[in-house]
Symmetry: C2
Subunit: 456 residues, 2 copies
C-alpha cells in the first residue's frame, strides 16, 4: 500500500450522498414511470465507444470535448520505429487512442439502431438513462460527468409523435410539480424564412447564432450576425420574424407566420406540419405550449419540429429539449429512417427540486433501529430483526453494545422514525418496546402486533 | 456529417436490448430491495477518478488494467520544450494522463468515506450499483465494462455484521431462486497456519497461490508453490490443512482446526472470531454455509473473515464475494476504521438466469396497443390513450394508418397482451373493442369498464 493520498474528486465530477440519491431516485422514478406508461422500452449502451463512432458527429468544437481513452498496455507500440518527436498532439492521437467516453446518448443510440435493426421492431420506442462525459470547463451547474435521460421513437414520421412527446413532457413535469413552458418551433419554418431572405446557403450559420438568443442580449447577437456577414436588413427581418413568438401553439398563431415563408416549399411544408401538430396537441391540451420562432436548437441533425422546455420559476436554462430528425442513422449506413426524441435535463431538475421541500412525497417508508443491549440479548434481537425484515420493513441492529445515548444519537442522525428496545425484562416476556422518535411515545408489543403496528 | 461507419461495439463491451434490461432490472431490483430492508443507503461516485486515487491499490497487475483517460485539449503541452523522443510509454503517461476509469467500487468508496467523513454517520451502511472498467483480455463472461453491486458497513468491528451479510446473501439468492453455497474462511486462520509453519513472511505469496485453487488443478498449484520456494513438507501440511473444509460452519467444525493454528496469537484470534460468527450465523440459519480453509481471496486488504458464494448448479465461478477489512481508508489518511463488505456478480447472475425460464415473475404489467384507423379516428384514439395512461396502464397508439395486418404483426413483435380497435362504428357508440391477443377473445367496452377490465 502506498502512502496516504488526499481524497479528492476529479475536476467537474460529483459524489452523491444518500440524501442526494433519495431526490435523484425520486426524479428518475417519476420520469421512468411515465416513459413506461408510454411503452418506451429501456436499453443501455456501453460508456466506452470506439473513437470513430463518436468523432465527426458533434462538430469541431464537440470533437474537442470528447474524453479519449488511452490504449491499454504499451500504448506507444504502434509508433514502433518511427520517431516519437515527429508527432504533435493531433497526429499522435490516432496512434495512442482508439476508444472514448460517450458524449451523449443520441449517437450511441443511432449506432445501436443500425447494429440491432433485425432484433428490434420499428417504430422502436426506446428510453435510456445513463451518464455522459464532456471535457467542458466546469462551472456552476456544468459538470464533466452527468446523466442524460432520453426517450426516442424511431421508424415513423407520423406527427402524432410530436404531440405524444409534448404530452409526455407535460405529464412528467406535472408529476414533479414543476411549472413549465414548452417552446415549439420547426426547423422547416426557419429554413423557409432563410429561403425567403435568400440566405438558405448560410442556414447553419444563421441557426447557430440564433441558438444563442437565450444566452446573449439582442445587441450581442446583432454583432454576431454582422460579423458573419449578414446584412442589417436581414437582421431587421429576423427581429420582425421572431417577434411573432410567445402565443399558444394553435392554428391561428401559425396562420400569422405562413406569409413570412410564402413561396418556400420547405417553409410551406413546415406551416402544414405545425398546423397538424397544433391540432393534435389541442386534443390532450395546449396549455403552456407556445410557438417560439427564435428557437433554433444547436444540433444540426434536427430537420423538423424542435422543442425546448423552460421552468417558469427558475432561471436555469432549458430543462428538456428535443426534436424531429430525418436521417440520424445514415451516419452508420441506414438512411431515411425518421425519428423524434427528447432529453430530460436531470441535473437541472435536481437543482430545482433540491431547493424545494418536496421530501414528503419522497419518503421511502418506515425505518427502524434495534438497540443493542449486549451479547446476552443478541440472539433475541437478531431473530426479531430477521422477522421484521421478512415483513418488508427496513431495520438494522446497532452492531455494538455502546451507551444508549450514543445509539439514540445515531438513530437521530440516520433519520429512523422508531427504535426498538429489548433488554432482559422484555426478553422474559417475549415482548419488544417500540419508541416513536417523533412523538416520544413508547409501548410494548408482541412480535405480530409490532409488525402490524409498523406496517400501518 | 462524415461518411457512413460500420456500427460496432468497442471490444469487450455490450449493448443491452429491452429484453435484456427486463432481466437485469429484475436482478437489480431484487438486490436493491434486500439492501434497503437491511437499511443500506445508496451512494454514487463518478466513473472518472484522479489517476493517483486509483494507482497502487490493485497491485502491479491491477494497475496495468486501469483504463487511463487522455488529458483534454493539447494533452502534450506539459512536455513543452522537452523532446518527445525522450519518453517511453511509462514515462510519458504521467505527462498526458491524470484521470482514469474506476476499476472497482471499493477504492472510490474508501475515498468517499474519508472525504465525507463529517457528513455521514458511522457505522455507515452504504450500497452502490455502478459500472467499472478493466482492460482485461475479453473472454466468455469477462467484459471490459461491467456492473458491480456492493454493500459495505464501515465503522464497526462487530462480528454481528459478518452474520448479517451472510443472512443478506441467503435472502438475495433465495429471492432470485438460485441455490448457493456460502464458503467462509478467515485470513487470520490462514495467517495462523503460516505462522505455525514459520512462513508468515511469505503470507501474501502463499495466499496469492492458494487463491487460484478454483482455477487450477492441485498439481499445478503444487508447481506454483515449489517455484515460489515453498518446501514439499509445507505443501503437504497445506493439503492436510485445507482438507478440513466443506463441513457446515459450526463450533464443532472450527474446534477441529484450532489445533492447526495453536501457538499463533493471530490464529487463535481467528478461531475465537470464527466461533462467534458460527454461533451468530446459527441464529438465522447456517444451512448452505460451509467452512472452506482453502478460500484465500485475492485482495490483500482483507484482514478477517472472507466470504465467497458459488451457485450450486452452475460452473460459472463465484457469484458473490467479500470480507472484513481493518484498514481500507488508511490509503486516504483515515487509519483504524474497520469495515466489511460484499459484492454481487450481477453479470454472472444474469448469465445464470438468462438460461432459466424466470420470466413469469418479471412481467412488468399489462401492455396495450391502440390500432390506428386514420386521421378521422385520431382525436378519439388520442383522448382514449391519454385516459388509459392516467389509469396507470401502459399503452401507445400505433403512429401510422398502416394495414391492420402490419399493425397486428407489430403488436405481436412488441409483446403486448391486448389491442384496442376503434373505428367509425365504435366512435359513434362511444365504445372500444378490446382484443386479448392470447385468447383471441374480443369484447366492446365503455371507457370506465375498459379501464376496470384492464386493471384486473
Amino acid at each position: 500500500m502506498t502512502k496516504a493520498i488526499k481524497p479528492r474528486l476529479a475536476r467537474g465530477t460529483r459524489d452523491f450522498l444518500p440524501s442526494d440519491m433519495v431526490l435523484r431516485n425520486h426524479i428518475l422514478n417519476t420520469v421512468r414511470k411515465q416513459f413506461e406508461l408510454f411503452r418506451f422500452e429501456q436499453i443501455e449502451t456501453p460508456a466506452v465507444e470506439n473513437l470513430e463512432t463518436l468523432t465527426g458527429k458533434y462538430g469541431e468544437e464537440g470533437d474537442k470535448l470528447i474524453f479519449k481513452i488511452l490504449n491499454s498496455g504499451d500504448y506507444l507500440k504502434k509508433i514502433g520505429d518511427k520517431e516519437l518527436s515527429n508527432y504533435d498532439a493531433k497526429s499522435l492521437l490516432p496512434e495512442i487512442s482508439d476508444k472514448a467516453l460517450r458524449y451523449d446518448l443520441t449517437v450511441p443510440f443511432a449506432r445501436f439502431v443500425v447494429q440491432h435493426q433485425n432484433d428490434i421492431s420499428f417504430p422502436f420506442r426506446r428510453y435510456q438513462i445513463q451518464p455522459v462525459w464532456r471535457a467542458d470547463r466546469p462551472a456552476k451547474g456544468r459538470y464533466r460527468e452527468f446523466y442524460q435521460c432520453d426517450a426516442d421513437i424511431i421508424g415513423s414520421d407520423s406527427l402524432m409523435l410530436e404531440a405524444e412527446l409534448i404530452d409526455l413532457i407535460k405529464r412528467i413535469f406535472s408529476d414533479l410539480n414543476i411549472s413549465i413552458t414548452i417552446k415549439v418551433n420547426s426547423r422547416k419554418l426557419l429554413y423557409g424564412f432563410c429561403e425567403k431572405q435568400n440566405i438558405q446557403n448560410q442556414f447553419t450559420e444563421f441557426t447557430t447564432i440564433l441558438d444563442k438568443i437565450d444566452k446573449k442580449p439582442w445587441e450581442d447577437l446583432n454583432q454576431d450576425f454582422i460579423q458573419s456577414g449578414f446584412s442589417e436588413e436581414l437582421i431587421h427581418h429576423t427581429k420582425d420574424f421572431i417577434d411573432h413568438s410567445g402565443s399558444v401553439l394553435s392554428m391561428e398563431s401559425i396562420d400569422v407566420i405562413a406569409k413570412k415563408v410564402e413561396g418556400s416549399q420547405i417553409g410551406t411544408e413546415g406551416v402544414k406540419e405545425m398546423q397538424e401538430i397544433a391540432s393534435l396537441v389541442d386534443i390532450t391540451g395546449n396549455d403552456g405550449v407556445v410557438l417560439d420562432l427564435s428557437l433554433a436548437r444547436g444540433l444540426n441533425y434536427y430537420t423538423g419540429a424542435i422543442i425546448e422546455v423552460i421552468a417558469n420559476d427558475f432561471q436555469i436554462g432549458s430543462v428538456c429539449g428535443g426534436g424531429r430528425y430525418d436521417d440520424l442513422t445514415s451516419m452508420f449506413g441506414l438512411p431515411d429512417v425518421s425519428g423524434i426524441g427528447i432529453s430530460f435535463g436531470i441535473d437541472r431538475i435536481y437543482d430545482i427540486l433540491k431547493g424545494e421541500s418536496a421530501s414528503s412525497t419522497m419518503s421511502s417508508g418506515i425505518k427502524v433501529l434495534f438497540v443493542n443491549f449486549g451479547s446476552d440479548e443478541i440472539p433475541y434481537a437478531l431473530k426479531a430483526v430477521s422477522e421484521i425484515r421478512d415483513a418488508g420493513i427496513t431495520i438494522d441492529l446497532y452492531p455494538d453494545a455502546h451507551k444508549m445515548k450514543k445509539q439514540f444519537r445515531y438513530a437521530d442522525q440516520i433519520g429512523v422514525s422508531h427504535v426498538i428496545i429489548a433488554g432482559k425484562e422484555e426478553m422474559e416476556k417475549s415482548i419488544f418496546k417500540l419508541k416513536n422518535l417523533e412523538s416520544g411515545d413508547q409501548k410494548d408489543y408482541k412480535m405480530d402486533d409490532l409488525i402490524n403496528h409498523l406496517r400501518q
